[in-house]
């Protein structure tokens, strides 16, 4: 008889997410449903407001990749008003973007996804001398893996283990799970990097703040460009940026890269990690202007995993539908015409596997009706995966020299075939490779900026908003979690309509009217779960997408409706910053 397993809340993500899977007696997932249990609604609040205020408001969709929304919303307004921003402003936005990507990807792998790969308890039994030596297998310049340092790491975490509340930040995970593959020494290396990454993420936040004023929620963009001209003309400031950038780039190349090579080596035979993904369509948008009309990442679409063809994106073919989402208008809508009218129908009563393996009464997703606050975005009617892997695959398939080089080097180093990129491991490796590309190329933008400042110090374009005119525009590009687009229409000088189609919506959305599943749900089907009370395999797959659900759901006024289905674990509470 098939049973239902509910994972709710999925922790170590930004936001609130629930996964329900139906498993057969053999432990294999037969069907899967993913629901976001909180909603957003900024689109509704935006209506009727001055478009210049919108970017600062939109960045508050989220507490992690706030700059992504700030930037795309600003670009949407600029696109609508027909503003071309100065070259300097483009490059400064890229430098801030570099800070964001490096910050985000490092946090994701180490602090949100890392403990799906690294068994902390096992690290406590490692031989630090052996581990210290082993680190040289994965890089010539290891970080944080000297014998003494590793000893200290062990002592620190052992102290946590003696704590009456258990392992402190590492409590409550599925330690000792059969699908953990690292040796104790490898676990110790990664654990040391986990702690080091806490410092790195602080440095990355400062790197953003140099030109961005603060992080999260930077505040130095204006419609037309950037405001931080004083920092740009101050050599001490530019130097500060470089020092921080170099520390992080070093970590990415000698810790993050090394750890993913290590993971590929140990996990390439683990079926739950190598299982081919369910949706093999990928979409990515160009991003990271590093020189005049020169972008680090490309635009394009790959269908059915066929890397021999890349299609160009036709923005008219982007729609969102709500057959299984808690909104009134079911039919597909283009974001310019998109609506956000709630229609919450809640959960139903049923039974699922409890913590001790016995069946317990639960509130369950009603998959025949509506079951998520996330809409289902489609491109030409098809589901798409977006994210770093999509960006890497599109670049690779398009013959982007920089992307090709890092992908080929990684495959050669790990002995993993290109086909293995279409897996959870591939997704996790793709994110690291994107971080590496940013770490290796942000300097190009930095140097071009310095060169240009010698002859041109324009940082912000001027513009007028004609109240009698109607405008529409969009800001579209790839952000750390994938393709993000903001769509705005302006009438009488105020916002007439606003929609944001965010990366996690593409990946985490529910079924569409044809019953076609989005990437999360499709990826879970066919997965074998070793122990139904410890569904680490599910969590590892979902985490590999780097869910950011605060922005994947549409909030609004929840009058009269209690959403009591989620609880927030105080230790692992969604936000990471």
């Amino acid at each position: 008889m098939s049973k239902r397993v509910i994972v709710d809340p999925i922790t170590r993500i930004e936001g609130h997410l629930r996964a329900e899977v139906i498993v057969g007696d053999d432990g294999v997932v037969q069907d899967a449903f993913v629901s976001s249990t909180l909603w957003r609604g900024l689109e509704v609040i935006a209506k009727g407001r001055d478009p210049r205020n919108i970017p600062l408001m939109m960045q508050r969709i989220c507490g992690v990749c706030t700059y992504s929304h700030y930037l795309k919303s600003t670009i949407a307004v600029e696109d609508a008003l027909g503003i071309k921003i100065p070259y300097n402003a483009e490059l400064v936005r890229t430098l801030m973007n570099a800070a964001l990507f490096l910050h985000d990807h490092v946090i994701h792998f180490y602090h949100l996804h890392g403990v799906d790969w690294v068994d902390i308890v096992s690290a406590l039994s490692a031989d630090e001398a052996k581990a210290s030596k082993l680190a040289f297998k994965y890089t010539n310049n290891p970080i944080g893996t000297g014998e003494n340092e590793l000893k200290k790491v062990k002592e620190k975490v052992a102290k946590f283990a003696q704590n009456p509340q258990g392992l402190g930040p590492f409590a409550n995970a599925y330690w000792g799970h059969k699908t953990f593959k690292f040796t104790p020494e490898q676990n110790l290396i990664a654990l040391s990097h986990y702690l080091k990454a806490l410092e790195i993420q602080r440095t990355a936040a400062q790197m953003m703040a140099i030109f961005g004023a603060k992080q999260p929620h930077p505040q130095s963009l204006a419609v037309g460009g950037v405001t931080c001209v004083m920092d740009l003309l101050n050599p001490a400031r530019m130097g500060e940026y470089l020092v921080k950038y170099q520390a992080i780039a070093d970590f990415v190349n000698n810790a993050y890269y090394a750890d993913i090579v290590m993971a590929a080596e140990m996990y390439k035979t683990e079926p739950s990690v190598m299982k081919p993904m369910g949706v093999k369509n990928f979409m990515a948008h160009k991003e990271f202007m590093i020189g005049r009309e020169e972008y680090l990442f490309d635009s394009g679409i790959i269908m059915n995993g066929d890397l021999s063809k890349v299609f160009e994106i036709d923005e008219d073919k982007i729609t969102e539908e709500a057959t299984h989402s808690w909104y009134k208008d079911d039919a597909p809508q283009h974001p310019y015409e998109g609506t956000t009218n709630p229609n919450y129908t809640g959960f139903i009563d049923g039974q699922s596997v409890g913590p001790d393996g016995k069946m317990v009464d639960s509130k369950m997703i009603n998959e025949k009706e509506k079951y998520s606050w996330i809409k289902s975005p489609r491109y030409n009617g098809e589901p798409m995966e977006v994210g770093p892997l999509a960006s890497i695959l599109v670049g690779y398939a398009k013959g982007n020299k920089k992307v090709e080089a890092v992908v080929n080097e990684f495959l050669a180093k790990t002995g993993v075939p290109a086909a293995a990129l279409f897996s959870t491991l591939g997704r996790t490796a793709g994110r690291m490779l994107q971080a590496k590309l940013v770490a290796d190329n942000a300097l190009v933008a930095f140097n071009n900026l310095i060169e240009n400042l010698k002859v041109d110090q324009e940082t912000c374009a001027t513009y007028v908003i004609d109240k009698d005119k109607e405008y529409k525009g969009r800001g579209i590009g790839d952000v750390p979690r994938g393709m993000l687009s903001h769509w705005i229409r302006i009438k009488n000088g105020v916002v007439e309509n606003y929609q944001a189609v965010v990366p996690s919506t593409w990946n985490a959305g529910p079924m569409d009217s044809k019953g076609a599943k989005g990437p999360y749900e499709a990826d879970l089907i066919g997965l074998k779960i070793e122990d139904l009370t410890q569904p680490l395999e599910i969590i590892r797959i979902i985490h590999s997408y780097d869910p950011c659900i605060a922005c994947a759901v549409h909030v609004m006024d929840t009058k009269g409706k209690t959403l009591s289905q989620y609880k927030i674990d105080p230790l692992y509470g969604g936000c990471t910053i």
């Binding site: 600062l56 400062q206 603060k214 505040q219």
Partner: protein, 155 residues
């Protein structure tokens, strides 16, 4: 924090915010305050004044209406804060700031200051006398900005 360190609860303002953080206006401890007093204002982002660190009041700074310690404490271990990055304060710690602080890149004082003080701005609820003084200040600020433009035209 205050309680853990000193064993007492901190003094609070009318919104129950600790005074050590919310006691002063952004404007009071702002590094560009000298520019404000001298009547040196950025007229447009990226202009010569912006390069020289002029006051951001005319491009929308809400520092004069906002009680917080950003200008003293800054962000990210002292790395920067909005005014240092050339962007005015948006008043984000004042009640209903989205609705009461007007347009982010336009000054409040010359057109909408009465809404900020009309009921929900922190100044209005502070106390009646405060309202009087600050409203006068707001008008003063607007006048000051306007006068400086006439007196000292940059373009």
């Amino acid at each position: 924090m205050h309680f853990i360190l000193y064993g007492t609860l901190p003094a609070l303002d009318v919104f129950n915010r600790p005074k050590w953080a919310y006691g002063l206006r952004i404007h009071d401890a702002c590094e560009r305050r000298g520019r404000f007093d001298a009547g040196e204002f950025v007229e447009q982002f990226g202009d010569e004044g912006a390069k020289d660190g002029y006051c951001l009041y005319k491009v929308g700074c809400k520092g004069p209406y906002t009680f917080n310690n950003c200008s003293k404490q800054k962000f990210n271990q002292g790395t920067s804060w909005p005014v240092q990055a050339g962007h005015g304060c948006m008043g984000c710690s004042e009640p209903d700031f989205w609705d009461k602080m007007g347009i982010v890149h336009e000054p409040l004082g010359d057109r909408l200051y009465h809404t900020a003080f009309g009921g929900l701005g922190s100044d209005a609820t502070a106390d009646k006398i405060g309202v009087g003084i600050l409203t006068v200040t707001a008008i003063g600020i607007a006048a000051h900005a306007a006068i400086s433009l006439i007196k000292n035209p940059k373009e």
